[in-house]
């Protein structure tokens, strides 16, 4: 009986306890309410790190970084011929034929706005916090403000006028349900805010924080870039009622003193602010750029290749040439190197799994834009892929080298003493590991020229051969795609210099401008004197320096900056945004197309710049001869892996010959030791013929094709009419026959903006609408 009462008491106790309403308030340490998080310095910093997580997702992995930046005169996404019909994909989307159902546009929008909201939430949360004046907290919110500005700018670049929100989203949707805001209003707000950030001076420079964090240099560069964007041309809404009401229609802008561009749609006008406003904006930009240069934290790496070495190796360049890069994770994120970069066709012996698509391409025209000794050419334009060949050396493979095994051999090469370490299967020459060819049929990973693909050159700034050992190791074990982890560089110091040059030119200081352009230009040359005339197909340029010195008006200086920008940044997808604000996007793409048409026209031999056939040699280092115990031992290793680009007859077989299609005679081959189709065995006596391994077993198409390749001038229907017609067809039209500009009825001229994606529009209940001729 006692027990029963006990039970009743317990029950009543439980009843009393649970009747208390507090019992229904439950919390967990796994969740931090905003009121708690924003009153703790560490939590604020951790939340700010979360912004970088946002940046390490789709937009800056590829949507914004690669796709949206493509579609210029030198950067294309794959959309050629038959593949150029997919409007729900970057292939045709970035030919400016994007459909409102292209889901990646929706993803881009949603993710970018998520980042903005995350920034807003931190900035607003901290503003209510007691810690708002703490230095560390102010630094964290300054990062959030810079990131927010960067994202807004990128969104405006893609979509034009967009919704603008400066505070965190309210649960009652009161500040969410909004339509478009005039992009000028947004840009002005960003400029104000960044000016305050710079003024407050809480952000560290790159000497105190790595360039993987938002830093003062980047903040200033971004501020300058926003000012220049604001001062530049942009396609505007037509005079629809909403744009009128919002004050961002073409007519409203024109009434406010905006100036119409020469190339412009009649309804959706391309406009820039008045000269007065531009001047003020350029001054603002100049001030920031100057401060960056004067501060001296950022500089250019001495070597262009050296800079890309750091990027590919996932290391930070000590000169801080990269102003801000998004910290992608190795093995998980990053499409740079995969979507853009040197392509491996099939799994390769040397580099492992074919972890690359090389979707972003550049053109033959870009290759010919470089001066031959410009070190940027062969890093930027890659007309080959890496591929395994089952090569059978015709020379005797080494069988008897065992006496050398596990020994260190000293040998002489080029007057220098070098060491070779011989192991079971490899020989390490001067630190470089090479397989020993001990039998026929050993696969070799070599550069293989792609045939006649003038609009599908890979971009070699990202190159598996420059990647870290860790990458190589992983790629050799991988059998599927994984993230390269290469950071997305958001801004590079040469950009600052070119922008600065532009600002100087804008105010008439052409001498000053030329100096900074030269600084960027000559970094790419081993010897400044080598900077002789290149063969730009647009027109034959004179000496670069002369040209530069001759540029004494803004437009001609801009021509030079434009060219330098192209040579320096091709493939990095920065260029489009500068072309847009200069309103040169359309004209440049058109000019690039016409340059190809002109340069590949057979009947006009004086302009036949593009060769029909290219002859080239592989690098000579496929054989090492070592004297050991009075015996000459030949090591054949890694035969014919790398093409000697200086041997490629890009400009004709004798270096001066502009004729296309001329097949040189055998004497020429022998004289220049080029290999030719009917290979002659090397004659020790005469020293003629071909002596190196790598010759096809039966001399079949192998040598014929890989040593003389149909090149860009080899005219076929495919490349000329179909491919050329596909390129950026939504912006410049699909006809290549007539040199007409894109002016078809029903099409909006100069429409480089993307449509707002369907689900995004649906979620807005018609508060958002599509303009520029896109369907709603």
């Amino acid at each position: 009986m006692k027990n029963i009462f006990k039970t009743i008491v317990i029950c009543l106790g439980a009843f009393a306890l649970t009747a208390c309403s507090d019992w229904l308030d439950t919390t967990t340490d796994s969740q931090l309410p905003e009121s708690v998080a924003f009153n703790n310095v560490e939590d604020i910093q951790l939340a700010t790190l979360g912004l970088y997580a946002d940046l390490c997702s789709d937009p800056y992995i590829q949507l914004q970084t690669i796709h949206q930046g493509a579609g210029t005169d030198c950067e294309l996404i794959d959309g050629l011929g038959a593949t150029a019909t997919n409007q729900n994909n970057e292939r045709d989307g970035m030919n400016y034929n994007a459909s409102v159902s292209w889901t990646k546009l929706g993803t881009l929008w949603e993710k970018q706005y998520k980042t903005i909201e995350d920034c807003n939430r931190i900035i607003e949360g901290v503003s209510r916090s007691e810690l708002k004046d703490n230095d560390a907290v102010m630094s964290a919110t300054a990062e959030a403000r810079v990131i927010r500005a960067m994202v807004y700018l990128d969104l405006i670049r893609v979509f034009g006028d967009i919704p603008f929100r400066w505070d965190a989203a309210n649960s009652d949707l009161s500040n969410i349900n909004q339509g478009k805001t005039d992009r000028d209003v947004i840009l002005d707000a960003l400029i104000d805010d960044l000016e305050n950030v710079v003024e407050e001076n809480k952000l560290p420079w790159c000497d105190q924080v790595s360039s993987e964090h938002v830093n003062m240099g980047f903040a200033k560069g971004l501020l300058a870039n926003i000012c220049m964007t604001r001062a530049g041309y942009a396609i505007r809404e037509d005079n629809n009622s909403r744009a009128e009401e919002g004050g961002y229609s073409s007519s409203k802008k024109e009434n406010a003193g905006y100036i119409k561009a020469d190339y412009s749609d009649d309804n959706f006008k391309t406009l820039r602010p008045s000269d007065e406003d531009c001047k003020e904006l350029y001054e603002k930009a100049e001030k920031q750029l100057k401060e960056i240069i004067e501060h001296g934290t950022h500089d250019m790496n001495n070597s262009f290749a050296g800079f890309w070495g750091y990027i590919n190796k996932l290391e930070l360049d000590p000169t801080h040439e990269s102003m801000f890069e998004i910290p992608m994770g190795f093995g998980i994120a990053g499409e740079l190197g995969y979507t853009v970069g040197v392509r491996m066709n099939g799994a390769t012996k040397d580099w492992g799994f074919q972890n690359s698509a090389g979707k972003l391409k550049t053109t033959a025209e870009q290759l010919y834009s470089y001066q031959p000794c410009d070190t940027r050419r062969d890093i930027t334009c890659v007309p080959y892929e890496l591929k395994n060949f089952d090569r059978t050396p015709n020379a005797t493979p080494i069988k008897d080298y065992t006496f050398l095994k596990d020994s260190v051999v000293v040998f002489e090469e080029g007057g220098e003493e070098k060491q070779a370490t011989v192991t079971d299967e490899t020989i390490i020459f001067d630190g470089e590991e090479m397989p020993v060819i001990t039998e026929y049929g050993t696969a070799v990973t070599a550069e293989s020229l792609v045939k006649n693909k003038p609009f599908a050159l890979y971009i070699g700034k990202w190159d598996v051969r420059r990647m870290s050992d860790r990458w190589k190791q992983q790629n050799k074990s991988a059998s599927l795609k994984f993230g390269y982890g290469i950071n997305t560089v958001k801004m590079r110091y040469p950009q600052i210099l070119l922008w600065y040059a532009e600002c100087l030119a804008y105010k008439g200081d052409f001498e000053g401008a030329a100096e900074w352009v030269k600084k960027v230009h000559f970094r790419a040359f081993n010897d400044a004197k080598q900077s002789y005339t290149g063969r730009s197909p647009i027109e034959d340029k004179g000496d670069f320096e002369d040209e530069l010195d001759a540029a004494t008006d803004f437009e001609s200086m801009l021509d030079m900056i434009d060219l330098e920008n192209r040579l320096e940044f091709c493939g990095e997808c920065f260029r489009k945004w500068d072309l847009i604000r200069w309103n040169r996007l359309h004209d440049n793409i058109w000019a690039a197309k016409m340059a190809y048409v002109k340069g590949s026209t057979q009947d006009d031999s004086s302009n036949a710049l593009y060769q029909r056939k290219i002859y080239f040699k592989y690098k000579d280092d496929a054989v090492k001869e070592i004297e050991q115990n009075g015996k000459m031992v030949k090591f054949f290793y890694a035969p014919e892996k790398a093409i000697d680009w200086s041997s490629a007859t890009w400009y004709g077989v004798d270096g001066t010959n502009k004729e296309k299609g001329e097949v040189p005679n055998n004497t020429w081959f022998n004289d220049h030791k080029y290999r030719y189709a009917s290979s002659t065995a090397y004659d020790e006596g005469t020293g003629k013929g071909y002596k190196y391994p790598g010759l096809g077993k039966d001399n079949k198409d192998f040598n014929a094709q890989s040593y003389a390749m149909n090149s860009f001038g080899y005219e076929t229907y495919d490349s000329r009419e179909l491919d050329l017609g596909s390129i950026c067809s939504g912006l410049v039209g699909s006809s290549t026959k007539t040199v007409d500009q894109f002016d078809e009825p029903g099409h909006v001229k100069n429409r480089y903006l993307m449509p707002i994606e369907r689900t995004v529009m649906d979620s807005s209940n018609k508060r958002l609408y599509n303009s520029y001729g896109y369907p709603n």
Binding site: I4, L49, Y113, S171, I176, H213, R767
Partner: protein, 1084 residues
């Protein structure tokens, strides 16, 4: 019969005999038989007024020595009327027991009380042990399919642990979990799938809110009450069942054979070239070599095997007046048709009831289930982001043969190197989900005064789900963790602990206000708390030589461990108070009123409490004098009810923005190449104003019985309306969020249900019964405050364009599918071919979607007549929610001297909906212009438009200038295209790289399924007597034997979308199987 089993039996009987008392003077012996003359084993024989008693033996014989003075013996047995026999001066007595009609009047559990079925005032369906027993299934829920009107049970797909959804009356919520509340022996559980079917006594489904209101908060979608078997006073029952079965896939989807596939690939390769000397599968003439080649039949490879299934269970139950017990063990072992798929489950249950004395009793229950599922489910795997790459979709689309790549040359957009065939995906993945659940219930009942009952019950439960998964390098494609393409191990745990306490006080009275009335009042209080934790531990980047699962699991130290993640959920608490009044007058007039208040920790302090009242009345007309003259009416009851119920099934923590630690998946910054943890806020926009979703149910029902109950059943009409829908609603995405949880809108479900049972023949030796049920439900969205009128199923990721396929709008139904109307394909003559090889439409119109014009491209109806296919041309295509569902069946038994043969057959059906055959749609075009994928066999070259001239192998759809010349100009090309494509049924898949949802992919999903057929044979008792067995039955059952349907996919009963607003999509599903089972049932 083994010696061992016999010994067990003797031991058990001996044990029971210990309860009997010592020996005294008068000894009475005798025999007890049932009404059919069979001896009753285990009937209780008690001397009246004493604790002295015994039980009958295997032949029904007993011997008892009397101790008391009454000289009366009381005979009792479950289901029989107690008999008292005066044995004064007798030494032997034979008793024939009689069935207890009253007892057979089934008891139905409603809330915290039980009532006799005849006294029910609400809409309740019941399935009993007998019905479940007859048809062996591994999953209890499956046994309910089609059995109950208004209860729609759908096995969503064929995997061993497939989710089986139960919808009661269509489900009210349109976005939330619509599954009913599951109550097992008085306590809420999350699912009943893991209960051994042999343990089940009854399953009751409460359908109208008036019945469910006592469960308040969670009863809005109906309540499924499972009562497990308890020990019974009387003889010891030992039951043993064993089954063995086989299963085989029902249907495979037809895909193109290597030849047709090769021709299609050639067509893609040959575009715009004059002569394709070599496509990826050879030149045109070489393609003939593919004819007759078998290639890889991926479907066959993946789920072509014969699955097996074995189950056995044993239970022992019995008891005395004081102690009743039931102990059971069950095992299920299943290997399904899918490669590497296995399920094992062990269940142990023990139930004890102990009566201390007249006024105090206690009960205890222990239940354990340990389930292990191996193998992959369908759809998206743990490391994938999209079902398009799942093995189940690849089984259809993966190339049957590999391309010829002699020198590694390949198309960079369609690289085979990045593709993994489904066989590799499946064999390269090891997934093991272990789920250990154990539950302890303890209850105490105190009846201090007449009519008063105090009851307190505690329940503690653990539900621990552990998922161990490993991927070999070859299968770790598109991983969302680090280091895709290398070995990966993921350990996930999801542990829940639940504590519940219920206290009730009941007062029962007869003749309370009037004579012959009955009154019951109940007051109660309940609190419940759920603690949940989740963890994830990930190891990535194994070296390549770690190429077996064991190596991966055993060597986590060589891998890179990502920061382990764990998460503790806020306690989910529910506090409730409730009361109930039952009042009956003369068994004619019934009243049942309930009120419940629930407080939930998921809502803010102002919205925490929900009040759920309900009232039911019933009138048993057949008891009225004026009805007596209609003798053929044996029962007629009219029921009327109205009530409300609630729904709070949302996650905790949605009321404000909260920051959490980053997870192992998802993007993260890698400063200095190290993954850096950070804080992030929730995925949804916060909403402090969330409140209860409530459902009001109105129900009118009739229970009827005619001709002495030979025809009986019930008919119900209902109208449910759900208000303040708790819903994940789209918000303008420039907010930075996609969704916010909100209360908005209302839906209604209206419908009726009819259940009829007919005793067709009832002879001594032969009986035949029929049963039939049908229900009709129609859903309507009555109010909706949302901005977004469409929901997107996005079932195949970006493969299909332009989702926005489900319209959610006021006045519309749920499951309204929108899309384009397919309108045949373009013939060459409809277009103009230019000299440059481009096709244009003469009037500049384009009725294909978002693509370039080609002959053979699919056309859609231009509804708005603007010459283009745009969003405005979308039309309603159909509805994916069935309106008519039900089942019918017959069972018969034929008794003879050589035994009894029983047979049953059961059909279920569903009518009135369409299904989007996503498998067909996603495999009918040049998806995303990626080469090397196969299509369904409707696109065999004989059946579809083709551009390739069989005579020359030249591509005429994308002709090269030389091709045009070779055909004598564009007219030549056009006329040749017309010639080779005369009478072709399908479009050219090469002509479209963008596909939309169209009526072509929508198929009627009406079906009639032969759900099960069982034939059993029970040995006559006379034979069994000799081997001391009570019952031996062997049977054979076939499941899913036939399905009559026009639907072309695997099965018309399908829905893959996790979004409840987008039902009825079939994509990347696990095919269903047909199974045959043999079973043995023994009773000792």
């Amino acid at each position: 019969m083994s010696e061992k089993t016999k010994n067990v039996r003797y031991a058990l009987v001996a044990m029971l005999l210990l309860f009997c008392s010592a020996i005294q003077a008068q000894t009475v012996s005798g025999n007890v038989k049932d009404p059919t003359g069979e001896p009753i084993i285990g009937a209780t024989v008690m001397e009246q007024g004493t604790q002295n008693g015994t039980v009958t033996d295997f032949d029904g014989n007993f011997t008892i020595t009397l101790k008391g003075k009454s000289h009366k013996l009381v005979f009792s047995y479950v289901g029989m009327v107690n008999q008292t026999v005066d044995v004064a001066g007798k030494s032997s007595v034979n008793v024939a027991m009689k069935d207890d009609a009253q007892m057979l009047d089934e008891v139905v559990a409603i809330g915290y009380t039980t009532v006799r079925k005849r006294d029910l005032t609400g809409a309740v369906s019941q399935v009993n042990a007998k019905q479940i027993e007859d048809i062996p299934v591994t999953n209890v829920t499956e046994a309910l399919t089609g059995k109950m009107a208004g209860v729609n049970v759908t096995t969503t797909e064929g995997s061993p642990d497939a989710e089986i959804t139960i919808r009661v009356r269509g489900g009210g919520s349109i976005s939330q979990d619509n599954s009913p509340l599951y109550i097992v022996d008085g306590f809420e559980v999350s699912s009943i799938n893991d209960i051994a079917s042999s343990d089940i006594e009854t399953i009751d489904v409460l359908k109208d809110a008036a019945s469910t209101a006592i469960y308040g908060a969670r009863g809005a979608n109906g309540v499924v009450i499972v009562t497990t078997k308890s020990g019974k006073e009387g003889k010891v029952n030992i039951n043993f069942n064993a089954t063995y079965g086989w299963e085989k896939v029902v249907k495979e989807i037809g895909v193109m054979d290597p030849y047709n596939y090769g021709v299609y690939q050639y067509e893609l390769d040959s575009g715009t070239q004059y002569v394709t000397d070599k496509g990826s599968y050879g030149s045109y003439s070489e393609l003939n070599q593919l004819k007759g080649m078998a290639g890889n039949n991926w479907q066959d490879k993946l789920f072509g095997r014969t699955g097996t299934q074995k189950t056995y269970d044993i239970s022992v139950n019995g008891g005395t007046k004081k102690l009743k017990y039931n102990v059971s063990y069950a095992h299920v072992g299943k290997e399904t048709i899918m490669l590497g798929s296995e399920l094992k489950r062990d269940n142990v249950m023990a139930k004890l009831n102990y009566k201390f004395n007249k006024w105090l009793s206690a009960d205890f229950k222990f239940a354990l289930s340990n389930q292990k599922v191996e193998g992959l489910g369908s759809g998206t795997d743990t490391n994938e982001s999209n079902a398009t790459n799942s093995w189940s979709n690849k089984a259809i689309r993966y190339a049957p043969i590999n391309p010829i790549t002699d020198d590694g040359e390949e198309d960079e957009n369609s690289s085979f190197a990045t593709r993994v065939d489904p066989y590799q995906s499946v064999t390269g993945t090891s997934k093991e989900v272990t789920r250990l659940k154990h539950n302890y219930n303890f209850g105490l009942t105190w009846k201090p005064w007449k009519g008063w009952k105090f009851n307190t019950r505690f329940s503690m439960g653990w539900d621990n789900k552990d998922t161990d998964q490993a991927w070999l390098a070859k299968a770790n494609n598109n991983s969302k963790y680090e280091n895709a393409g290398m070995g990966l191990v993921v350990y996930q745990t999801d542990h829940k602990k639940t504590l519940t306490n219920t206290n009730t006080v009941t007062y029962d009275a007869k003749n309370f206000l009037l004579s012959s009335d009955k009154f019951t009042a109940l007051l109660g209080h309940e609190w419940k708390q759920t603690k949940q934790t989740k963890t994830e531990d990930v190891y990535t980047g194994y070296p390549t030589d770690y190429d077996t699962f064991d190596k991966l699991f055993d060597n986590t130290s060589v891998a890179k461990r990502m920061d382990p993640w764990d998460y503790v959920y806020p306690n989910d608490r529910l506090l409730s108070f409730f009361g109930q009044l039952l009042y009956t007058i003369q068994d004619k007039y019934y009243l049942n009123a309930t009120l419940r208040a629930d407080g939930s920790s998921k809502f803010g302090s102002g919205n925490r409490w929900g009040w759920f009242p309900a009232v039911q009345v019933a009138w048993r007309l057949s008891e009225e004098d004026f009805m007596k003259k209609y003798e053929w009416i044996s029962n007629l009851k009219l029921r009327l009810s109205i009530g409300t119920a609630g729904n709070n099934r949302i996650d905790s923590g949605l009321l404000m923005t909260q920051y959490e630690r980053s997870k192992t998946t998802g993007s993260a910054p890698y400063f200095d190449e190290n993954r850096t943890p950070y804080l992030m806020h929730g995925e949804y926009l916060y909403n402090p104003n969330l409140k209860w979703e409530t459902t009001i149910t109105r129900n009118i029902g009739i229970d009827y019985g005619f001709w002495k109950g030979r025809v009986n059943g019930s008919f119900d009409i209902y109208w449910n309306s759900t208000n303040d829908l708790l819903m994940k609603a789209r918000v303008q995405s420039s907010s930075g969020y996609i969704y916010q949880f909100r209360n908005f809108g209302s839906t209604s479900n209206k419908g009726f249900e009819l259940t009829t049972n007919v005793v067709i023949l009832d002879k001594k030796t032969f009986s035949l019964n029929g049963n039939f049920n049908i229900s009709y439900n129609r859903n309507k969205i009555t109010e909706l405050n949302t901005d977004s009128k469409y929901e997107s199923s996005s079932f195949a990721g970006s493969t299909i364009s332009e989702y926005n396929d489900f319209k959610i709008a006021e006045g519309e139904r749920l499951g309204e599918l929108y899309g384009f109307l397919y309108d045949g394909y373009y013939t060459a003559s409809e277009l103009t071919l230019g000299g440059d090889g481009k096709w244009t439409s003469p009037d500049d119109s384009n009725y294909t979607y978002g693509g370039t014009l080609y002959p053979g491209a699919p056309k859609y109806k231009d509804v708005d007549g603007d010459g283009k296919i745009t969003e405005a041309d979308k039309q309603r295509l159909g509805n994916t929610v069935p309106t008519w569902t039900g089942g019918f069946g017959f069972d018969a038994s034929w008794k003879n001297t050589w035994g009894t043969i029983d047979a049953s057959i059961f059909f279920n059906y569903s009518l009135g909906n369409e299904i989007l055959n996503g498998t067909k749609l996603a495999n009918s075009f040049f998806a995303g212009s990626s080469k090397g994928y196969n299509l369904i066999d409707q696109f065999n070259v004989d059946n579809r438009y083709t551009w390739v001239d069989p005579a020359t192998g030249l591509n005429l759809g994308r002709p090269h200038a030389n091709t045009i010349a070779a055909y004598g100009g564009t007219e030549g090309v056009v006329s040749r295209l017309n010639e080779i494509n005369a009478g072709k049924a399908m479009w050219n898949p090469a002509a479209t790289s963008t596909m939309v949802i169209s009526d072509w992919a929508l198929e009627k999903a009406d079906f009639l399924r032969l759900q099960s057929v069982t034939i059993g044979y029970t040995l006559p008792k006379a034979w069994l007597k000799k081997i001391h067995l009570q019952k031996v039955r062997i049977y054979f059952t076939g499941h899913n034997l036939a399905c009559i349907t026009g639907y072309k996919g695997y099965d018309p009963e399908v829905s893959v979308s996790k979004n409840a607003m987008c039902p009825g999509i079939d994509f990347a599903t696990y095919p269903k199987s047909r199974s045959y089972t043999m079973g043995l049932n023994l009773q000792f």
